[in-house]
Every structure is written in structure tokens, then in C-alpha cells.
């Protein structure tokens, strides 16, 4: 009976904190499977009461795997080790305090719970504040896992083994030693995470600067165009005068239609694009768009961009945003080379509650289904290309505040990303 109560308690502590740390929704299946896993571990420790370490390690392994299945995040294993450490640490420290001062049982219990809640809450805060670094690359994850894993083994062999054998003095000495070690380890890990964050920020800054210089280059190009236009302008006036002097009205009409209107449209199209980009307050995207727009211009694909109101922020990670925009533009440019009358339209529309990014390009009439375009490794141009769209969809599906539509309508291939402001 006592055994069952203990294993239930263990279940509530370990899995409750895991659900909390992951901010996972508790569903029936999850609850049931975690319960069964716990029952299995309890059974194991019942069968082998002498080798407690067996059930401890299998508990870590099983809960790690289970939460990896639930969340598909490798940090499941990290959390699966940290939480038992927290549990055991709070159990043993409070046991020692109780043993030392001869305190009653209910104080013992509340001490354990208090310590555990504090430790787990602290851990969640640390994890949440560094989640950008932890999620983005595998190196900090691996190092953290190593540190935590070693800590667990050291704790186990130095504290828990003597405690089980009843040598409380040794345990006390080791525990105080290890408490120090624990503090040092926490400090070291946070230094590691801090430097990683800083490095990441530096890399981001570098990208931003690069994009900005692209933007400046594009602007210079527009400036040169305008100068050339000014130069032509004088010539155009002279030709107009020539037509008027000889009173060749038909010739004048023809010249006006074919030369002046056309040149005006082309020159001002670019100028207008930059005028629209002015309203975008996000430098990285500005640079990216400027570069890509110039590229489309070189390939003589007409491209139009609309930014009717100024936009200072978009509730989406900037790197993700540049990635998806790059994917969409590259795809649109690629597709445009296949059609006779290419056109790309792009809009950033700011609404009260949301920002809408619309992307459309003319598309060749062909029998393809959209879901095929979004399958990995699918491309109309052979293998190993066109990885873009599935990647874009995957990135966007990770955001709860983003919805993404993609469809074909009257020969246009249209992508719409709606980002709710947060």
C-alpha cells in the first residue's frame, strides 16, 4: 500500500513537472501513457528492490522518450534528467534538515514540496528565457545534456548511495560539497548560454548590416537611373520640339506614345518600389526585398510592391521572416521564367489586429496539385530543388499567431501569411 502511494506521488511529481516545463496540454492519451510508463517503473523497482539505480535510470530514459514523442523536441531528455535531480535534491536536503533538527513529518513533506516547486519554477524560467539559443542549434543542447547527465551520475554516487547505506554524516558532507558544485554548475551553464545568446545576436547584427548595405546599393542604382533619365529628358524635349517645328503631328503622337510614356513607366516603377519600401521599418527585410527586386528587374520580370501604411514590427522572428520571404520571392522568380507575361505582386498590409503579407505570381497552366508542391523533395524542375515551399510551411506552422494560405486562382499562385499582432 505504502509502495503504491509512493509511486503515485513520484508520478505526480515527475510527470506533473514535465508537463509544466513543456507547457504541454494534458490529454487523455498522454495521461494514460505516462501513467502506464510510471506503473512499469514502479513494477520494476518492486521486482528489483536492491538495485534502485536500474529503475532510476530506466525512469529517466522512459520519461525522456515519452515526452520526446509528445513534443518532438530533443530537450525532452534534458528535462527528464533535470527534474529527477531537482526531486532528489529537495528530498535529501529536507531529509537532512529534518534529521538534524528532529522535525515532524508534515514539515518534512512541505519542505520537499516547497523546494521542488521553487526549483522547477526556476528551471522553467531559465529554460524559457534561453529557449531561442537552445532550440536553434544542437551544440548548446548537447553540452547542457552532458553537464546535466554527469551531474546526475555524480550526485547519485556521492549522495544517494551513502544515504541508502545509512551513512548520514558522509551524506551531509557530500551534500554540502555538492551543493557548492551545483551552484558552480548552474553558473557555468548560464555563462555558456549567455555567450551563445550574445554570439547569436552578433551574427544577426552582421546579417542586418549586410542587408542594409544591399539596400544602399540598390538605392544608388535608382539614383543613377534618375540621373540617366534627367540626361535623356533634355533630348526628349529637343525631339518634341523637332516634331512641332515641322508640324508632324502624327509623328509627335507616335513618339509620345511609344517613347515618353514607356520610359516614364519604366523609370518610375523602380522609384515607386523604393518609395514603398520606405514605409517598412525592418531593415533586414528592406535589404532582402531591395536585393531581390533588383534581381527580378534584371531578369525583366515586372514586380510590384505595396506597403500602404508604415510597418514597424511584425510578430515573427526576423530570421524566419527573411527565410520565408526569400523562399517565396525565389520561387516566384523561378516560376516567372516559365510564363509569357510574368508579373509578381507583393504587399505588406497593416490592419488593426494583424499584418497581412500577400505574394502572388503568374503561373503556368499545368495540372499540378498544391499539396504536391508542399511535399518534401518535390519540384517541377527535377530532384533536389524546390525545397523551399515545404520549409516555409514548416516554419510558419510553428507559430500559433500565424495562419498561412496558399492557392491558385485565375492563373495566379497566391500565398497569404496572416500574422496576428501579439
Amino acid at each position: 500500500m505504502l509502495f503504491i502511494t509512493f509511486s503515485l506521488l513520484n508520478y505526480i511529481i515527475v510527470y506533473g513537472s514535465l508537463f509544466y516545463v513543456f507547457s504541454l496540454r494534458v490529454t487523455g492519451t498522454r495521461l494514460l501513457s505516462s501513467f502506464l510508463a510510471n506503473a512499469f517503473i514502479a513494477f520494476l523497482s518492486y521486482l528489483l528492490p536492491n538495485s534502485l539505480w536500474m529503475s532510476m535510470f530506466s525512469s529517466i530514459l522512459i520519461s525522456g522518450c515519452l515526452f520526446y514523442l509528445f513534443s518532438r523536441r530533443t530537450s525532452a531528455f534534458l528535462h527528464a534528467i533535470v527534474i529527477p535531480i531537482c526531486t532528489l535534491l529537495s528530498e535529501y536536503t529536507s531529509a537532512l534538515v529534518v534529521h538534524h533538527f528532529d522535525l515532524p513529518l508534515y514539515i518534512h513533506a512541505s519542505l520537499i514540496v516547497l523546494q521542488l516547486v521553487m526549483l522547477v519554477a526556476l528551471y522553467k524560467r531559465v529554460i524559457d528565457s534561453f529557449q531561442d539559443v537552445i532550440r536553434s542549434s544542437t551544440l548548446p543542447k548537447a553540452v547542457l545534456l552532458l553537464i546535466v547527465g554527469l551531474t546526475f551520475i555524480v550526485f547519485y554516487s556521492l549522495v544517494f548511495i551513502p544515504a541508502e547505506q545509512g551513512e548520514f554524516n558522509l551524506t551531509f558532507f557530500n551534500l554540502s560539497l555538492l551543493f557548492l558544485y551545483f551552484l558552480i554548475m548552474v553558473a557555468l551553464s548560464s555563462i555558456l548560454l549567455y555567450t551563445m545568446t550574445k554570439e547569436k545576436k552578433l551574427a544577426e547584427k552582421k546579417i542586418e548590416q549586410q542587408q542594409f548595405s544591399h539596400y544602399i546599393q540598390a538605392l544608388e542604382q535608382v539614383n543613377r537611373d534618375m540621373q540617366a533619365f534627367h540626361h535623356d529628358y533634355a533630348n526628349i524635349l529637343l525631339s518634341l520640339r523637332g516634331y512641332m517645328e515641322i508640324e508632324d503631328w502624327d509623328g509627335l503622337k507616335d513618339f509620345f506614345e511609344t517613347q515618353i510614356m514607356k520610359v516614364e513607366e519604366q523609370t518610375f516603377a523602380r522609384n515607386r518600389i523604393f518609395h514603398q519600401l520606405d514605409r517598412l521599418g525592418i531593415t533586414e527585410i528592406k535589404g532582402l526585398l531591395a536585393t531581390k527586386l533588383m534581381k527580378a528587374d534584371e531578369l525583366s520580370i515586372p514586380i510590384n510592391i505595396e506597403i500602404p501604411d508604415s510597418i514597424e514590427a511584425i510578430s515573427l522572428n526576423t530570421i524566419d521572416l527573411t527565410r520565408i520571404l526569400g523562399i517565396f520571392i525565389d520561387n516566384a522568380i523561378e516560376e516567372s521564367s516559365l510564363v509569357n507575361d510574368p508579373q509578381i505582386n507583393l504587399a505588406f498590409i497593416s490592419m488593426k489586429q494583424q499584418v497581412i503579407i500577400v505574394f502572388e505570381n503568374k503561373m503556368e497552366e499545368r495540372d499540378i496539385s498544391i499539396s504536391a508542391l508542399y511535399e518534401d523533395h518535390y519540384s517541377t524542375k527535377g530532384q533536389n530543388r524546390g525545397l523551399g515551399l515545404p520549409t516555409a510551411k514548416k516554419i510558419l506552422s510553428g507559430y500559433p499567431n500565424v495562419t498561412f494560405n496558399s492557392h491558385i486562382e485565375n492563373g495566379w499562385f497566391i500565398h497569404i501569411v496572416i500574422i496576428e499582432r501579439c
Binding site: N304, E306, P308, M351, I356, S371, S397, N405, E409, I416
Partner: protein, 249 residues
């Protein structure tokens, strides 16, 4: 269909009026211009008292309000009215018009001949919308809001709906693409007798099932995608499918 024109250039205004009247007398006699003005205030005053079915608005007006402002104001009172913008080359904001203001169409100022062609097309579209609003009996639809624009998708054209890994987010797949929006699968089950909830995360349209794989417990849809079928429902799915083919033959 009542039409309102707001254009501050007198010459262009008269040209628009003439064009619309000509189109009305030849094609749709029910089209009638009820107001033709250069002042935004008059348009707003009119819309307070009466309803027009179609507004032609110049974007650049010599006034503190421009065409977009008028459109925003009109939309507040009447979400269904058709709005057609008249614009110069310099500010061709096609996507903004349609997603921010749910405008029906826009006309680019050009030679009179080209304006006339564009105007005809826009009027035709406006008239089609006007007729559609009049019809009370409609096929079941799912409406998806994209900014101010509302996209209607006929239930019979839907392939399937799927839940996403994030709560409250649904994806809808049809022949032309996919759409994500916020909602619950449960709310769509009753829309049509041929929608079938074959799995916790899938609501499929039986019209577009290509084949059922009983061993893998999946169903292949017309767009090549596979949906899961839960163990309990595979029998019922097959029953419903055979019932449906019987109905057709």
C-alpha cells in the same frame, strides 16, 4: 443597381457617367447612376441616408479625404456594397484594395478607350455580385476572412479539413490549395451530409475520396494526400462510401 460616382475632375466625371449610362441602356437597364459628384462629403451624406450597390471612387481627390478613406467609411456601414477604385499608374495598389478594403476592382486612368473597357468589366463584376446578394438560396459555404476580404469556399469543393499541432488552428484543402484559419473541427461536421469525421484530426469529403487503404488505415484523397482513419470508423467509412456510389448510379 444603384451606382455612385465620386471623381473630382469634371471631364473624367462626365466621361464616366456617359459610359455607364451607355452600358446601362444597352446591357442592363436596371443600372442607374444615383449620384455623380466631385465631393466626398456628398458621398458620405448620401450613404448615411440611402444605400447604393456600387461606388466608383477616385483615389486622388482634391480634398482632405481620399478615395480610400471614403471606402473605409462606407465599409463600416455596408460590408456588402461593391467598391471600384479609379487610380493613376503611380499608385496601383491592387492587393491593398482587395485585402484591406475588399474592393471589387480598380480602373487605371489611361486612354478613354482603355478606361471604357476596364469600366465595362468592372460593371459586369459589380452586377454579378449584386445579383448574387439578391439570391437568398445558396449552397453551403465556408467563409474564410483574409483581412477585409472574405473568401467563400463551397462545401462540395472541399477535399478535407485537418487539425494542426497547435490548438484551434485548422487547415482546409481544396483543388486549388489550402487555407488555415482558427476554429474547431466539430463546428463543420454538420455542414453537409457527405462530410465524414474519419479521425480525431480529419474531416473528409466523401465526394473526393480516391481509395481506402484498409491495412494502413488511411484514405487517399483526390489531391494525392492521405488522411488517417481511426480503427473504429473504417467500417463505417466503407459503408458510407458504397452507399454514396449506389446513390450516384
Amino acid at each position: 443597381m444603384k451606382v455612385v460616382i465620386c471623381e473630382d475632375d469634371q471631364l473624367q466625371r462626365e466621361q464616366l457617367l456617359k459610359e455607364i449610362q451607355a452600358y446601362a441602356s444597352f446591357h442592363e437597364p436596371s443600372i442607374e447612376v444615383v449620384l455623380c459628384t466631385g465631393s466626398p462629403d456628398e458621398v458620405l451624406a448620401y450613404s448615411q441616408l440611402q444605400q447604393a450597390d456600387c461606388y466608383l471612387l477616385d483615389i486622388e481627390l482634391n480634398h482632405q479625404l481620399d478615395g480610400m478613406d471614403i471606402a473605409m467609411d462606407l465599409r463600416k456601414n455596408d460590408p456588402l456594397t461593391s467598391i471600384i477604385f479609379i487610380t493613376t499608374h503611380a499608385d496601383r495598389l491592387k492587393l491593398t484594395f482587395s485585402y484591406k478594403l475588399a474592393a471589387l476592382d480598380f480602373i487605371v486612368k489611361d486612354t478613354p478607350k482603355r478606361i471604357s473597357i476596364q469600366l465595362r468589366e468592372a460593371l459586369q463584376a459589380a452586377f454579378a455580385t449584386y445579383k448574387q446578394i439578391g439570391q437568398s438560396e445558396q449552397l453551403p459555404m465556408i467563409q474564410i476572412e483574409i483581412g477585409e476580404r472574405i473568401k467563400n469556399i463551397k462545401v462540395q469543393d472541399i477535399y478535407y479539413l485537418e487539425t494542426s499541432s497547435l490548438p484551434h488552428k485548422l487547415s482546409l484543402y481544396d483543388r486549388n490549395g489550402f487555407y488555415e484559419f482558427y476554429g474547431k473541427l466539430r463546428d463543420f461536421e454538420q455542414l453537409d451530409g457527405l462530410l465524414f469525421r474519419c479521425h480525431k484530426s480529419f474531416l473528409i469529403n466523401l465526394r473526393h475520396v480516391r481509395e481506402v487503404n484498409k491495412k494502413e488505415r488511411t484514405v487517399l484523397m483526390a489531391n494525392g494526400a492521405t488522411c488517417d482513419v481511426s480503427f473504429r470508423l473504417i467500417r463505417e467509412l466503407q459503408k458510407r462510401l458504397s452507399l454514396q456510389t449506389k446513390d450516384l448510379s
